[in-house]
Amino acid sequence: MIEALLELLSWACVLSGAFFTLVGGIGILRMPDLFSRLHASGVADMLGAGLLLVGLMLQADSFWTVAKIGILLGFFALTSPTAAHVVAKCALHTGVQPMTGEGPFRASRPADREGASSKP
C-alpha cells in the first residue's frame, strides 16, 4: 500500500517536473526580452529540475543514490538563483534596457535621462 502510494507520488513529481521544464523551454523561446527570459529559465531550473529530482529520489533504492540526488538538489538551489542574478546584473551594468512601459525605473536609467531612447 505504502509502496504504491510512493510510486504514484514519484511519477506525479517526475511528470510535473518534465511539464515545467517544457514550460520553461517555451518561455525562453517566446518571451520578449532578456529579463523575462530569466523568469522562464528560473522556472525550468528550480521547479522543473527540482520536481524531477525529488521524483527520482523517491524511486531510488540505495542510500547513496538518494544522497547524490540530494547534493544535486542543494547545488541547484544555490547556483540557479546566483547564475540568474549574475546574468541580470551584468546585463544591466552593460546597458541592456529592460522592456518596461513608462515606469519610474526606465526614467531613472542614465541613458534615458540624456534623452537617448533606445526602445527595442
Binding site: 511519477w11 523551454g25 532578456l34 527570459r37 529540475a49 527520482l56 547524490k68 544535486l72 547564475a83
Partner: protein, 101 residues
C-alpha cells in the same frame, strides 16, 4: 513511463539551443546555455534511472559544477575584461548604453 520525460527534456534542449543561436544580446545566449546545461543534468539523471546505472549521477554533479563555473566565468570576463581581477566595480570595458551582441 520515462519516455514523455525524455521527450520533454530533449525538446527543451532544442528550444534553448535555438535561443542561444538567435538571441539578440550576448546575455540571452549565456542564459540559454546555462539553461541547456541544467536540462542536460536532468537528462543525465533520468538516464541514470533508465539505464539502471547510478554512476551517471556523478557525471551529472560534475556537469552541474562545470556549468555554473563556466557561466560565471564568461560573465565575469565580459563584465570586467579579465578573469584574475578582484571583481570590484572598476571601469566598465565599454561605454554605458551599448549592449553586447
Amino acid at each position: 513511463m520515462f519516455v514523455p520525460v525524455v521527450i520533454a527534456v530533449v525538446l527543451t534542449m532544442g528550444m534553448a539551443l535555438v535561443r542561444a543561436l538567435c538571441g539578440p544580446t550576448l546575455y540571452d545566449r549565456i542564459l540559454a546555455l546555462n539553461m541547456f546545461g541544467t536540462v542536460t543534468v536532468m537528462l543525465l539523471s533520468v538516464s541514470a534511472f533508465v539505464a539502471g546505472r547510478p554512476d551517471f549521477l556523478d557525471i551529472a554533479m560534475v556537469y552541474a559544477l562545470m556549468n555554473f563555473i563556466g557561466t560565471t566565468a564568461v560573465l565575469k570576463y565580459f563584465r570586467y575584461g579579465d578573469l584574475g581581477g578582484t571583481g570590484h566595480d572598476v571601469e566598465p570595458t565599454r561605454p554605458e548604453g551599448e549592449a553586447l551582441r
